[in-house]
Amino acid sequence: MAVKLSPDQKQATIKEWQAQVKQLLGQVETWAKEQGWEVARTKTKIQEFELPPYNTQSLEIRIADKTRAHLEPIARFTLNGKGVVELYGWPGLRRVRLQPAKTNGALTWIVMTDSGIPLHQPWNAENFYILVNDLVA
């Protein structure tokens, strides 16, 4: 997908994407803490073909001694998508991909399996816990 953006459009795109990611990380951080899981943030620098390098954050969720889940923004520009954030288990690296979407004007996330099949489950705390437990199982 070739994207031609002016420098101003690029900056606006980055800003919007960073805000979406920030909102997601805050939401997941709250859900994780409610479950009693420890959470740590890491700064991440992303380089995409269509955009200048930009900073964002990743989340590490400690489920048990050596079991973790990671929430990691991958890119704003993807085929058929408006951004992708990966949620994966550690150390097994099983993953799902989260793609932003709007429902009644509000930001939500569509969960896609590794083979590109949408789960058709609402993005909420309950489903997040199920997903994380499946990813680290």
């Binding site: 050596k66 085929l79 550690w90 150390p91 097994g92 690296l93 099983r94 590794d114």
Partner: protein, 148 residues
Amino acid sequence: MAQSYFRRLLGVRSEYGAAREALDLLLRSWDDLSFAPKNPITPADAKRALDNLDFTYFIRLHAEFESILRDEVSSKGGAPKAKVRQLESQALRARGIRPGSVNRALINRLEAIHRYRNSVAHGAAPGALVAFADALRDFNTFIVHLTP
């Protein structure tokens, strides 16, 4: 170090994903292609490449795992041995870990993966079919042992 090892494995998965999307897109749009492919490939070639992709990238992933083990042994001043099972033991010992102390189920799965890799790469007796995602899980679970 283990953090970059993990990134190397994920890099292979990303390439695999890109190759799958590219081949899938090529096949779906074959009749509407607005450019001539540089090589005289047929839809059957593309279909065969897609059908074998899991298999192809399994081999790539296995090679990356072996390369990581070699790098690990070398970084600790050792001389990497040729066989992957020996490399696993060398890498563990270099970290002061007794190979026998590693989860037996994981070691058994890794053995099955290596047998499968040999069966497809060298025409040896076939092992059980191993999916790319399962190999990735087990390789990274082993590599976690190399975390300081």
